[in-house]
């Protein structure tokens, strides 16, 4: 006879196992299908006709798609760099100084995280057309409107991550550096930045992936000459969902997953170090 199920033997209960399975299928079946059919040797995505890599070749040969991908990467890199600087400055400011209305300011900074993207998109569109932001500049300045829009929704994520890390900062470290003769800038460069590095990297990766796959806000701020990867995929899908779209999407998934995993790993490592230091 089997041993009775103990109070902590969750996974030996049938319904728990079923729930876990259903959740997993729900989350990953669409993505698994997408990836599988990117290798499908068929014009349509309905029947499996055999393995091929030709749609990857086709996607790589599609100049419009490649240009969109290059645009997306450029936007992601530039908006991430600006977001890191802006987010870190805001976080340090909120941590270091006391000023009237600080609590309100802190809340307002985090607000773009919860504002619906569609509202941000419409607001950006209205803003840029109202001030007459030029749309016919040379590359990469033609992307500036999109970059500004991306910075506005991704720097709060950097600020939140960096702010959280600053809570664990021992102010005596900064005072010690100052006491040893460092100027305020040297204290920031030699003590604060090294301490914040894991937070900056994690926040930056978050900003990067957010920018890379943003559709809604980009859709409202992009013009005919500034198509990004998600917008391009959307326009391709309007004609038909071909395995080429699947192949391109698979590449994007891989890029995003790798970036996120790296961000999580950095945070985990920083957490372990903080624990060691505390213990």
């Amino acid at each position: 006879m089997a041993t009775p199920i103990g109070p902590l033997d969750y996974t030996r209960r049938l319904w728990v196992r079923l729930t876990l399975l259903v959740v997993f299928v729900f989350l990953y079946a669409p993505i698994a299908t997408l990836i599988a059919f990117s290798f499908n040797d068929s014009r349509r995505n309905i029947v499996w006709n055999g393995f091929t890599l030709k749609y990857y070749e086709k996607a790589l040969g599609n100049e419009g798609l490649i240009e969109a991908f290059a645009n997306s990467l450029t936007i992601a890199v530039l908006s991430t760099l600006v977001s890191i600087v802006l987010g870190a400055l805001v976080a340090v400011l909120l941590w270091r100084f006391r000023f009237p209305g600080k609590a309100g300011y802190e809340g307002v900074v985090a607000l773009p995280i919860v504002i619906p993207e569609i509202c941000m998109g419409v607001a950006m569109l209205a803003f840029f057309s109202r001030i007459g932001w030029p749309s016919d500049m040379v590359w990469p300045f033609n992307l500036s409107a999109i970059i500004i829009a991306h910075v506005s929704f991704s720097f709060p994520f950097v600020a939140v991550v960096v702010r959280a890390r600053l809570e664990g900062f021992n102010r005596e470290l900064a005072e010690a550096a100052q006491d040893l003769g460092a100027t305020e800038w040297q204290v920031f460069r030699d003590v604060m930045i090294p301490f914040l590095r894991p937070g900056l990297v994690a926040g930056g990766m978050l900003a990067f992936t957010l920018s890379l796959d943003d559709f809604v806000i980009t859709f409202f701020t992009s013009g005919p000459n500034t198509v990004t990867f998600p917008v391009k995929v959307y326009s391709m899908v309007r004609f038909s969902v071909t395995p080429e779209v699947n192949a391109a999407s698979t590449v994007l998934i891989v890029v995003t997953v790798v970036m996120t995993a790296a961000a999580l790993w950095m945070q985990h490592r920083a957490g372990m170090k903080a624990e060691e230091a505390a213990g």
């Binding site: 470290l173 005072e175 003590v191």
Partner: protein
Amino acid sequence: MSTEQEVGETPVGETPIIEIAGLSKHYGSVTAVDDVDLTIRRGEFFALLGPSGCGKTTLLRMLAGLELPTAGTIRIDGQDMSAVPANRRPVNMVFQSYAVFPHMTVRDNVAYGLKVDGVPRQEAYRRAEEALELVKLGGYGPRRPDQLSGGQRQRVALARALVKRPKVLLLDEPLSALDAKLREQMRFELVNLQESVGITFVVVTHDQDEALSMASRIAVMDHGRVQQTAPPAELYEFPRTKFVADFIGSVNLIEGTVEASDDGLVRLSAPALQVPVEIEQASGLPAGSTGWLALRPEKVDISREPPDDAGRNTVAGTVEEITYLGDVSIFHVRLTADQPLIKVTIANLDRVTRRPFTWGDRVHLSWAPTCGVVLAQ
């Protein structure tokens, strides 16, 4: 800081290195440091002693320039520090958390203060290694701080401060994070280190044993004010206020009225004592004023019969409680009903099974007029 410091050359002189005048620090309505005047002498091992919240750390931080005074001046080596920022002051600090930079090796930690001063890397590393040898951490340069014990991290913090050859080394509760055995050992090492480098040390502590055993002079602080500044023995034998008497060591504080005060002799009558007592004391109190007799428990003699010497102050009572502490026993003796018990400490010279007195015994307590002081406040 251009020439090599001659080891042990600076004598403990009468010349001041730090002069503090009228120094105050307010945080809103809270007064952390209240009109402090203090002079610290060159080459001295000086302790700021007091309970937590007495303002001693704030005072130290103002010396370092990490806090700005609300009022008053600080002069270090004759130079006014009002307009000198923390990174330009000729003092260095060992922080309570040691604040060793976690992302730098031990060597880079110690060399940091030299590098920001523009000392070439090789020279900085050479002097860092010297400083590490001084604190017995020679060869630890390549290690990372997370590979060190708490005691070793403290030594790194010491080396990092001393390598800059400051005029004054400030130490904020330097031993509080160490375990008891190591703490005792580090007391001696700090004193030896101070003697060998000849730099003035100012240490903040709440631990009276630490202050008494290390410092050449101690300032006792309470509520932002300096209560008394004196060498350890003077502080213990001649406290000036009830707070100092009570804070340093153990004491019987007996409230009474001054009956007479002349010829260096104060006569005090107290409800807790059956007879008036006489204490030899230079500073007289006006007759009729309230006075407190501060009497150390180890200075009181306990006996079954009254002592022959009529010059001794003698009272009688009953042993009510005995506290055994291994090396000593404390006898709590009731002299008068409804009055506080008097503590008497007796060294346990014999095995405790041969204890001379036990609960309920009638005993006589006596002490010479040279023991104890009468305090006005």
